[in-house]
């Protein structure tokens, strides 16, 4: 008997069977991207789009993109997209939802986009109870411009402009956006999730589906913060991204459901 080490994986297996996980969800048309190895954002995008399909909105959804690394997906997904400016997706989402209340409206933004440039936008959109779902992909850096500190960078985190680690005396304290939004009136759902392991990814998808369901019921503002890996911004190896997220980022930005259901 020849002991085989490696199973051929270049083509469909010879044994009869079926596909349980395809390369890409059908709402992603362009899967190749120039994002870094080990980046959590494509994982988050896949999760979001699978959820949109699963709740039945694949032919009734508009996504408003902010500006960051994830913006590359705005042109590669089979979802209607309105490209907004840095931080300004929630107001654009509001305008769309007010004139198209039956359409599922979601924003895709990073932490630099939402928590720095656009904090006012998301807070007011939440307080007004606009029935849109805002998503913040949080990796604690401005990735697209090279990895600089944002409002969510945690104390001790090294970034391009906090190379010795964020120090409260010099750089101030991080803002936990989900925690700011949860107490506001008009808010129906707030959760913080992560994509650094399969269980977390599944929780993220379930949370997002819950948010979308509440939006479809007109329950008010829904919000999902997704912690994503950024090994480049964090100065770690790609296979250390998931543990760095657990040990550093998630200690300040604590995953969990902060609000479920309108008041």
């Amino acid at each position: 008997m020849t002991e085989i080490e490696v199973v051929p994986t270049g083509t469909q297996p010879a044994q009869p069977g079926h596909i349980v996980a395809d390369f890409m969800p059908d709402l992603i048309k362009t899967g190749t991207h120039q994002l870094c190895a080990g980046c959590g954002e494509p994982i988050a995008m896949r999760t979001l789009l699978e959820a949109v399909s699963e709740v039945g909105y694949r032919s009734n959804a508009v996504a408003i993109f902010g500006i960051g690394c994830y913006t590359v997906f705005s042109g590669g997904i089979d979802v209607e997209v309105v490209q907004a400016l840095h931080g300004r997706a929630p107001s654009v989402a509001t305008g769309i939802k007010r004139v198209r209340p039956q359409t599922l409206v979601l924003t895709v933004q990073g932490d630099g986009d939402m928590a720095n440039e656009g904090l006012q936008e998301v807070l007011h959109t939440a307080a007004r109870g606009e029935s849109v779902t805002c998503v913040m992909l949080n990796n604690g850096v401005f990735g697209e411009t090279g990895g600089h500190m944002t409002a969510t960078t945690v104390i001790g985190q090294r970034t391009k402009n906090t190379l010795d680690g964020r120090d409260a005396a010099q750089h101030g304290y991080p803002i936990s956006v989900a925690n700011m939004i949860a107490p506001l009136p008009g808010v129906a759902y707030v959760a913080r999730c992560a994509v650094n392991n399969a269980v977390a990814i599944d929780r993220a998808r379930r949370s997002f589906k819950r948010a979308l369901q509440l939006q479809s019921e007109g329950a008010g503002f829904t919000f999902l913060e997704i912690l994503t890996m950024c090994p480049t911004g964090w100065f770690v190896d790609t296979n250390q991204g998931p543990s760095y997220l657990d040990e550093t980022i998630a200690k300040t930005h604590i995953p969990g459901v902060l609000k479920d259901g309108p008041d």
Partner: protein
């Protein structure tokens, strides 16, 4: 009885397989970490056309789909076999391919 005696190689342990889009991989190794039976490993020298090492599959895949789930580059397509197979059956099918 040792584990290898209770799980002889002729027992059907492989429940599925994957198709790997080799050139899409950026060598991040998140799949290796995520695979519960630990049947993914990075190539030792072979590199794809982007210059990265990429994952190869050993016998024992359970078709859980976690590799596809955690991959940032959409490298995997996961198949579940109608019936689990033994390594011998994997061998003969590999020779046939």
């Amino acid at each position: 009885m040792t584990a290898s005696e209770s799980n002889p190689p002729s027992a059907p342990r492989t429940r599925g397989s994957v198709v790997v889009d080799v050139d899409a991989c950026k060598g991040c190794e998140l799949c290796v970490e995520a695979c519960p039976p630990g049947v993914l490993r990075m190539t030792s020298t072979a590199r794809n056309n982007q210059g990265y090492l990429y994952p190869e599959l050993l016998p024992g895949c359970i078709a859980c789909g976690l590799c596809a789930k955690v991959c940032p580059d959409f490298v995997f397509q996961v198949w579940r076999f109608d019936t689990p197979v033994t390594e011998l059956e994997l061998v003969s099918s590999a020779d046939a391919q």
